[in-house]
Point group: C2
Chain length 227, copies 2
């Protein structure tokens, strides 16, 4: 088993290196088309799809597409389509994360391109997706207030690599023990330049700020590239 473990690590390093290359190529293409790409990562049930449901109606005037990553079921893509937004479901079978080659392939299959915003909702998993660059502009780590206030330090990889962290389900704060300040301090200590949002998809709290951040990001990106 030790030998297998060593080989596992070697193969993993090669897989990650190949993913980096595919991600660089994707990023070049997104840059060329002026598409802002957002990679949403969290535990199962932290509210990634609900955040998108609250966000998409506020991005009218933009061309928006959504890639939904799940092990099984088409439910999330169906939820997005109900809003009149183009969505394509990626089913991983059993795989615990999306990878850049898969994004490339599924964009081709679905004919999805030319968007202002492309949201990629990763498989529900706070660990494995952190290692796979999908050519995104930035990762967003979601943490809901029902998950406990010890999580950033317990899952440092994702919170240190996400330019944006969203504390979701803030409407449930009165009903749970959750030290918001402590959580934000943990996240800032893992990533001092992090952009933090407190949101509730139920009450709409924080959604306007988050959407303003998104549109500012796109404008800055296009200004920078002269697109």
């Amino acid at each position: 088993m030790e030998k297998e473990s060593t080989r596992k690590i070697e193969v993993r390093q090669k897989v990650l290196a190949a993913n980096e290359e595919a991600a660089r190529e994707l990023r070049r293409r997104f840059e060329l088309r002026g598409t802002a790409v957002v990679n949403l990562i969290s535990s199962p049930g932290s509210g990634k799809t609900s955040l998108l449901e609250a966000t998409l109606p506020r991005l009218q005037g933009y061309a928006v597409g959504v890639l939904e990553g799940d092990i099984a079921t088409e439910r999330d893509a169906e939820r997005i389509r109900r809003l009149g937004v183009r969505a394509h479901q990626i089913l991983t079978g059993g795989a615990c994360h999306l990878d850049a080659r898969q994004i490339d392939r599924e964009l081709a299959i679905s004919g999805m391109e030319g968007f202002d915003f492309l949201f990629i909702e990763n498989v529900g998993n706070l660990i494995c997706p952190a290692s796979y660059d999908l050519g995104e502009d930035f990762k967003v780590a979601l943490l809901s207030v029902t998950e406990g206030d010890d999580k950033p330090f317990k899952y440092p990889g994702i919170f240190s690599r996400s330019a944006v962290s969203v504390i979701s389900k803030c409407d449930l704060l009165p009903h749970v023990r959750f030290d918001l300040r402590s959580v934000e301090d943990q996240i800032r200590s893992l990533n001092p330049s992090v952009q933090l949002f407190r949101t509730s998809a139920q009450t709409g709290e924080g959604i306007a700020d988050w959407c303003r951040f998104l549109s500012d990001w796109l404008e800055t990106k296009r200004g920078r590239s002269g697109a």
Copy 2:
């Protein structure tokens, strides 16, 4: 990358086969000592440690040990030790699950043995730990009512492989949209013989039933093996 993917799958199969072997050996040892071993699996923040905090004071009269799996921090083992129960923290670095060799090694390091009950709290992840047998009597899948009622069908692997499923944080039911019946139906369709519990570590709901199930299990096991 296709070649790397194929090699990744081959290595993974060998790692899983080696894990199966180590798990069989562990299971033989646990059987010999009459230890009931419970492998707790869920998303981060579904309440695995809280369930243990509610459970352990009710198992007085039994010798109990807890192995805590986390990527980082000693917090969970500290929480268990505060109850006067022996706990050993396993830090995986970045790994997304525990494996049988690791359990063997960490039991030796910590000198933990001869328990009536050994609880293994896996790394917070609803996907990867499902594939790794730790020599346990059974897996327990936890799902909290704040995570959304679409989860069993979205994560079929773990719910089909867990002899027990616990719906946790039931005290929060009045504050969230969560169709309990639908969730239980999904779980039963994935595993018709599943043992289901509805619990709240806050109010104590369901904890007595769950603890009775545990002590019955141990007695049946020992009756069966004549221990």
